[in-house]
Assembly symmetry: C4
Homo-oligomer: 385 residues x 4
């Protein structure tokens, strides 16, 4: 077992007083982390315009309640890819979880299981996907970063199939890394004890020679990126449903539906790839409009509140993914923290449904919202102005 | 008489120098309060988006004055539910007033009476509704929180009828409490001396058993919430006019009018229930448009200035409610503070009417305003741009 | 001669280094003033929304330059009420100038004369209008606050006529004072040495009895305010051209034109009367549109830069008024400061004209501007978006 | 060789840790400079509204990515004035570079050559244009400030022709200097060692007499400014292509195209001339629309990120200019710094192209962007709201 000297504070064995929201987990976690690890987790790319917008865009969307609705059949349940979900929440793929807790993904998966929440395990997990599956959590998905070529990539997929993962998520929005300046300035490096457990022993392809005038980025990394043909080949070679993660453009969402993908995850990678991408809540309605009512559409990036979940569902998402708060909760209180964080979010969603007058997820729709950013909306309220 | 050790500072026996606006009462009151009580009073739900919007939305509405109007018949009087009002101001229902002053509601009612201002007494008052009525204030209304069942609820209503309350306000926007995180973090608890005086001795219904998978929120609290049938039953069983408090959606306003309610109070509960609700000044015009010109429509949440009252009236409110400033004034100077606070607001309203050129409330209308948030308005001013 | 102990710092006998803009005069002046006097000068009414908007609204208006224009006949001259003006600048009426300088208006008038700038002398000047006129400044106007009745008011006007004032400005937007809370909190009072020199010995009318229920504001002050009939009577009884100051509503501007007034000053009283009035730069274009191209229209409130003057002219003003900066400059360096402040503003206007490509005032029009606040403008620039 | 005592810190001989973006160069450079020199470099005119807008306007423009594009032919190359460019970047003309580094433009030109980046040498360079050309950089342009008359101006042009400059840029937006108040307050003066090397020995025309009432600005400086006839004369007397720098108005862009100019540089002079000019990214699309698809259009002012370059190209620029970052990089690490700064910007542009899914510059267009400032765009995403 590798060392963990980079972990400076032991996690709490019970939830500290004063943690009553996901933001509180962030506040508590940050001082417990080594500076460069904190910067690695929290920073966005470049000037962090997209990172900030991931939160601020939610504030422009208002909720329109209806009083005295009938809650006798109220429920938060839904179905996704044929499986029932107690709540429309999933854990997003998050790499390197031993950065913040000795048990890393092995703790996270226990917290997720306790709250009946599916977990999407990252290619870059600190523990092997088989070890995570051994926890017995019945709803695991596997996230794939393309591994230079088809052979390496398929090997990972077959391992996921073999130990019971239910779905495959291929991330397509990060063929090169965004320059996260805060992370760069912090001198971030993976500590000795944090390995890419799934990739140990993977054969490395020979480096590709480049012309003197060629660009390492455009002619190097990008030519190694997965292609449309690779995606179709992968889909033909796995029995798992394949979802594409990293879609912002509604035309892309439609294209992946037409390619027969099982679903699309609208995501800007938590503001970590390209600064200037819109927030996902700004594009989810257009994506839903592009793919029609029945295609699975999930929303990632920026969710911190039950009201955020409500707004995402109202604009067309079937479910949402939680990213960084996993790490914040894991830092503070391990598996217990992850479970409690999910419980806080669920309670907030339920209270939102209660106060908005929407007894079931099917009742949540565009009519549940108000566009507070638009002067037109304001004018509509004031016809005589 | 219960103890009051939680009250840390004695109220002033005269108005402190430097209190010239409602905001000054808040500034003076906060340091006089125990921290958790201060947080309980001032916090909003979650990220306090709605709480801030309750103030900021007013700034987007401009006033369009007319010079040299004829003020020889100028007056602020109006009628509401058949009763005359000196000014279009009421005290909103505010719970637990012994949190800030030993005399609690008994002081508030004296301040209100001195300024001819109706007071809406809360179900959760620290003093019995009968004791408050004993003050002799001729314009008291009673606010009802549904008490688990019809029997408990009607018992309160009959007590209000018996001691001369003029109207009944049923609050429908809080079947579950919003999570006011600042209050939670502060460890707020009701001090020993602060009781729910009206509910002492009320029989508690047996707890309702829940399935293992049922939600305490959606299947517990919400099934105990009042229904449409309960509302109609209540209306049929009281001789008092019934107003509904907590409406945001214009469709709800219309529905309550069609159900024969006596009026509607547009309110977001001072930003304390669901974060993301619009401010009431943003929806009042649409509510007025929905119910037509003659139905009583009151506006609650966020009023702090005479110009705010003016804007609410211009967009369709018949009168407005004052919430937290009651507590701030009560903290600082008891009954005298409440009276002075109301006097400041009245004076500001009268000066606004003087400078806007609107001698009576009937002169205040949409033509008295400018929508400063809308580029369209700006463009209308600059046709050649 | 009254005392001047309230003046804490002697003015500089030369311009201090580092004063290169009107804002620098404010920065230098404030610490030289007694706290309550500083608050009296700089505060706006209530929450100072209008005061802030007086500056911020200018930032939303962009300038659209034209290169290589022909400047051989370039000039800033114009005509107003039949008199030539070297620049389209006037000193606004500002009361009580001995608050900041022993010589008060006697210094201001010397600074104005040195820069050929008309000065509008306030009813509430610290020196008698005759003494100010004795300076020999050839372009003085007199500002009238109505003095309870026709007799008192006309007496002032006749004095102004007698000593050569060229025009009369009647202020109509302040029949009651706005509540300037910062001034109130500061305990402001006029020092012993600062008198209303023009009003000494004026007979006071008997106080008007009010009903018990009457409002001091609406039924007291407002009934003493000048009426439309008073305005017409005044106009009929003076040979001076009469301009109305305090117009915001374009309908009022048109009405005063139709009443035969000589001109209108669009003003919100420097944000000191009614909080929520729009800034004047937001309404000047609509006022110009209402009165047509030839009626004298001046703009007051918020001008601090040559670019502000340019924008006001472009949207329809014939000239602009400078208020508070007079006092700032007077505080810092007396008559020399006032002259230098005007010189700074003139130079900024001339440089703006040079860089915008508008050789004369007649070249400055709506086509010289861009509405930066409007997404429509932005969209017009990006037709393919 | 003149002295350089004003340079307080020696430049680093390698890039300091923590410099990972152009903003980091600014942060590192500022404390290394004498205060007045820092203010001279960084300040904008007046209230710096345009300076701030040069950055903030970029934040309102979002990027719309397309996944899985084919990068096998990816490239950043383009052509300008018939010459190939490795990347669409040029160094803007920047005066007085010995203010920050002993080698001034001689260092800058070496950094630019190392990264194959054209450099536009300023009339006000600290070294003679011949000495800069002696570096052997094959892509130099010369920027001309009009020198009072045709003779002086043409003399400079002929020197540039003689030593191989490829193009001429005439700056037309600064016939008078904007009042950069921060620079004025700092007491900025050119140190003894910093001369206008190109202008040494230039004959000065006799001062022009002005009338007593004439304006030094409008009737002095402006009458010395170049005229349309001068521009046409210059174009007829040089074999170099002539580009005009300082265009904001689309009508001007079209006019210069029709006059046969070789290209236009859209610029607000880095926010240093007229406060209130729009940012160039706000007007570039309208300028492109005015001149049609094939006319060379460059964008200056505010570029600090690869995403900014991408947005400028998407809205119609053929290439962009880098101004102040040259000085920041030169201050910190001389020629090495300039080269590294250009490398950072190139890498950011390439990563943006990789993540946006645009393999070549020709693929970058309006469809690559989203207007995030417009509620209309937001509404388009939410048709059911």
């Amino acid at each position: 077992m590798p060392d963990n000297q980079h972990i400076q504070s032991s996690p709490y064995s019970q939830i500290p007083a004063g943690i009553v929201s996901l933001a509180d987990y962030e506040t508590h976690a940050l001082p417990m982390l080594r500076t460069d690890i904190r910067e690695y987790i929290d920073s966005g790319v470049a000037d962090e315009i997209t990172l900030r917008r991931n939160r601020s865009a939610f504030e422009q969307i208002g909720i329109s309640p209806s009083l005295l609705q009938d809650f006798r059949q109220a429920s938060t349940t839904t179905r996704l890819l044929g499986y029932p979900l107690a709540h429309p929440l999933l854990l997003a793929p998050v790499a390197h979880q031993r950065l913040v807790h000795t048990d890393g993904e092995l703790a996270t998966v226990r917290g997720a299981a306790a709250l009946d929440t599916p977990m999407i395990v990252s290619t870059l997990a600190s523990y092997r996907l088989e070890d995570i599956a051994a926890s017995g959590h019945p709803n695991l998905w596997f996230q794939l970063y393309w591994q230079h070529n088809r052979e390496n990539s398929l090997a990972l997929v077959k391992r996921a199939e073999a130990c019971g993962y239910q779905a495959l998520v291929i991330t397509l929005d990060a063929p090169v890394n965004g320059l996260r300046n805060r992370t760069q300035r912090s001198g971030f490096h993976l500590p000795a004890g944090v390995i890419e457990a799934n990739l140990q022993g993977q054969p490395h392809p020979a480096p590709r020679p480049l012309d003197a005038h060629a660009s390492v980025i455009l002619n190097g990394f990008m030519v190694d990126a997965p292609t449309l043909a690779d995606l179709q080949w992968l889909q033909a070679n796995t029995r798992l449903p394949v979802l594409v993660k990293g879609v912002i453009n509604p035309a892309d969402a439609l294209r992946f539906k037409e390619l027969g993908m099982a679903g699309v995850i609208v995501s800007n990678h938590g503001g970590r790839t390209l600064d200037g991408l819109p927030s996902t809540i700004e594009v989810i309605a257009a994506c839903r409009q592009a793919v029609g009512p029945d295609f699975p559409l999930l929303l990632d990036s920026g969710i911190r509140r039950g009201t955020d979940v409500f707004k995402a569902l109202a604009l067309g998402a079937n479910a949402i993914l939680i990213g960084r708060p996993q790490l914040h909760a894991l830092t503070v209180a391990g598996a217990l923290g992850v479970a409690h964080m999910l419980k806080l979010l669920r309670d907030e969603l339920e209270i939102t449904m209660a106060l908005a007058g929407t007894p079931t997820l099917a009742d949540i729709g565009p009519q549940s919202l108000l566009n507070l950013a638009s002067p037109q909306t304001f004018a509509a309220f004031q016809p005589s102005l």
